[in-house]
């Protein structure tokens, strides 16, 4: 197992370097000169000369890449000239929103998608199966932003003044406040990395309110997350349902299932005790891989629901031509994506010995 993990880690190294090279090139491929791209159109020539020397932009490209690598390894992702603070600081502030959204969407997609797939496969070609698959097809075909807007309209306008009403935007109702973990745990004198980390997890509102037992805020935060997670989670949900169904049906065609049936086992026992365990293996991969879709969906969903997350920030940074932030956020998103793929692969190898032994 350890050998497999090492091998898998080594194979992701070139990909990591490639990602770094792309984010590195991003800042250099941008139209116009890098100084005015970083400092704004009104930067004077003297300021620019100083900037170019300071950033090493007059040095050869390989040297510049090495400098960039060093910066990234030290955790320095540059400063946003629009907001006048470091990109890492902005990440600490915005990433938790997206993580909460992605996780909740993933939970929603899995909890609904897997059972839907099982039901569909169990009663194959029945009305339930056909209905589920039609719904799944419509699900993968609906643009995230359209679905988000329609959900918003349905739950905020049509269900207005009913218990089904849900808030259409933001993370918390205005007026509701959640103290940071540093405040609740009396850890205000922390500094550096640990302070940043504590600040980061404080902003995971669901986690924070759960840990500190702040049930009112927890309820409020969850209610705000329902619609966005449904919007982002629907496409993965549909894919998971289809995958689960076809995977179970594939497994049901195998010899060992026929043996189990021939022994006189009931269909239900065969499906749940014999087929499911093997059939869910590819589903694990799909669940992991759908994270990329979730992150892409997050840009659109955060725009629709006005959530201050990574996607929304990235988009705002692009329109504001705040390239340091674009570079930093693109890098972090790609890193998260690679990391999740790695975890999924390792998990898959753990579940299926054939992978790690081949």
């Amino acid at each position: 197992m350890l050998q497999y993990i090492t091998r898998r880690l080594l194979t992701s190294l070139p990909v990591l370097l490639g990602i770094l090279f792309i984010t590195f090139s991003l800042a250099r491929l941008l139209p116009g000169d890098p100084c005015r791209a970083a400092l704004g159109e009104r930067a004077t020539d003297e300021v620019c000369d100083a900037f170019i020397r300071r950033e090493g932009l007059d040095r050869p490209i390989p040297v510049q890449f090495a400098i960039y690598l060093g910066d990234v390894l030290r955790g320095d992702l540059g400063d946003s000239f629009r907001q006048g603070r470091s990109a890492v600081e902005i990440l600490i502030e915005r990433l938790p929103t997206t993580i909460e959204l992605a996780l909740l969407a993933m939970i929603f997609a899995t909890l609904v998608g897997v059972p839907a797939g099982i039901v569909s496969a169990y009663w194959r070609n029945s009305a339930i199966d056909v209905g589920t698959m039609i719904a799944a097809n419509i699900g993968v075909s609906t643009p995230v932003f359209v679905l988000g807007l329609l959900l918003e309209y349905t739950f905020a306008i049509i269900f207005k003044d009913t218990p089904l009403w849900l808030p259409p935007s933001g993370r918390l109702t205005s007026g509701v406040q959640l103290p940071s973990l540093a405040q609740s745990l009396n850890l205000q004198n922390l500094s550096g990395f640990s302070a940043g980390f504590l600040d980061f997890i404080s902003r995971l509102y669901v986690f924070n309110s759960l840990v500190t037992g702040n049930w009112k805020v927890l309820w409020d935060a969850l209610r705000h997350l329902v619609l966005p997670s449904m919007a982002v989670g629907t496409i993965p949900l549909a894919i998971i349902a289809r995958m689960t169904r076809s995977s179970i049906l594939d497994v049901l065609g195998l010899d060992y299932i026929r043996t189990a049936r021939a022994k006189g086992l009931k269909m239900r026992a065969v499906v749940f005790q014999h087929a499911l365990r093997n059939a869910l293996l590819p589903v694990v991969t799909i669940i992991g891989l759908s994270l990329g879709g979730l992150l892409s969906g997050a840009v659109l969903t955060e725009t629709v629901f006005n959530l201050p997350g990574v996607g929304r920030t990235l988009f705002e940074a692009i329109t504001a031509r705040d390239y340091t932030v674009v570079q930093a956020f693109t890098l972090v998103i790609a890193l998260i994506y690679v990391l999740v793929n790695l975890v999924v692969d390792v998990l898959y190898a753990f579940l299926d010995p054939r992978i790690r032994l081949s």
Partner: protein, 314 residues
């Protein structure tokens, strides 16, 4: 040689014909593929005859041209009881007082063009990379595939956004970005199929006859790799349309006053509470278009991939 030609041609034609017949027969029996094809046929009809079917100019505001016309007016169809003194707009009007119905019709034209051009571009480049990579193997294969891995390491929409940032917003650049982002998929599909086909006896035979590498690639391997590419391409059109709409929604793709569905939603989404029809109709059009390609792609996969059809139990 001439004799061989005359005896061979009818055989290959018959084979090609029977394969086409088999495919179309399976497709005709596949209900979801037929639904997809039906929606697509309507869309193509609408796209071709958009100018004849449209009731208004899709890009011109109607202020001053029509009496009583209002901004973001609800849909009004006289036959369904809408008062006669109000101007008839099947899908209402938008924030710039343009006829939404006409814009949706012209949007069909644009969406189909977007889907086909991006996927053609991606298939062309991707197949070339896949063919070279799979056929040559060795370090060429290694380098090309690692580059593809890096492209796949980014969530596709994010990468497309990054590329548009570099190129600047606009429909053409957005299409280019989506094309680039989807290259790795086709490169991988083409490569996998080359790896299988290059070990086939007919390839060895051709090589023994002295055929050159480019000849073998284009004449023997490429035609045999087309099936998975066509299937992937059909499904890819669906993804491309969704991504182009997403970029336009964010303001990075098609620009005002182009009647693009994603842009139509993007310009009006803040008014969803008082004018939901401005989100609903373009959204529905997008959903139906994407759905048709997804259904057709799934059907084609069942019809064209005998291996899949045999092992398929569902």
């Amino acid at each position: 040689m001439e004799l061989a030609d005359t005896t061979l041609r009818p055989t290959t034609q018959a084979l090609a014909l029977s394969r086409w017949q088999r495919t179309s027969r399976i497709l005709l029996r596949n209900r979801s593929a037929m639904v997809g094809l039906f929606i697509l046929a309507i869309l193509t009809f609408v796209a071709i005859f958009a100018r004849q079917l449209a009731t208004h100019d899709p890009e011109k505001p109607l202020i001053g041209l029509e009496e009583n016309v209002k901004k973001r007016a609800d849909p009004c169809i006289h036959a369904l009881g809408c008062p006669q003194d109000q101007p008839e707009h099947y899908f209402g009007t938008d924030g710039n007082v343009r006829d939404v119905f006409s814009r949706i019709l012209f949007g069909a034209r644009l969406s189909l063009i977007i889907g086909f051009t991006t996927v053609s571009f991606a298939i062309l480049i991707g197949t070339l990379i896949g063919l070279v990579s799979g056929y040559l193997g060795g370090w060429v294969d290694n380098v090309l595939m690692r580059v593809m891995d890096v492209l796949l390491a980014f969530p596709s929409l994010m990468l497309a956004i990054a590329i548009v940032t570099v190129l600047g917003p606009g429909l053409i650049n957005a299409l280019l970005a989506i094309g680039i982002v989807s290259i790795p998929t086709y490169a991988r599909v083409a490569r996998a199929s080359v790896l299988v086909n290059k070990e086939m006896d007919f390839v060895s035979a051709s090589r023994a006859l002295g055929a050159s590498d480019p000849f073998i690639l284009l004449r023997h391997i490429l035609p045999n790799s087309l099936t998975p590419l066509i299937v992937q391409g059909t499904l890819g059109i669906a993804t491309a349309i969704l991504e182009a709409a997403a970029l336009s929604f964010l303001g990075l793709g098609a620009q005002h006053p182009t009647p693009e569905w994603g842009l139509m939603v993007g310009q009006e989404y803040k008014n969803v509470f008082n004018a939901p029809h401005l989100t609903f109709f373009p959204g529905l059009a997008l959903m139906l278009t994407v759905l048709s390609f997804n259904l057709l792609g799934d059907g084609l996969r069942d019809a064209l991939d005998p291996r899949l059809a045999r092992t398929r139990t569902g």
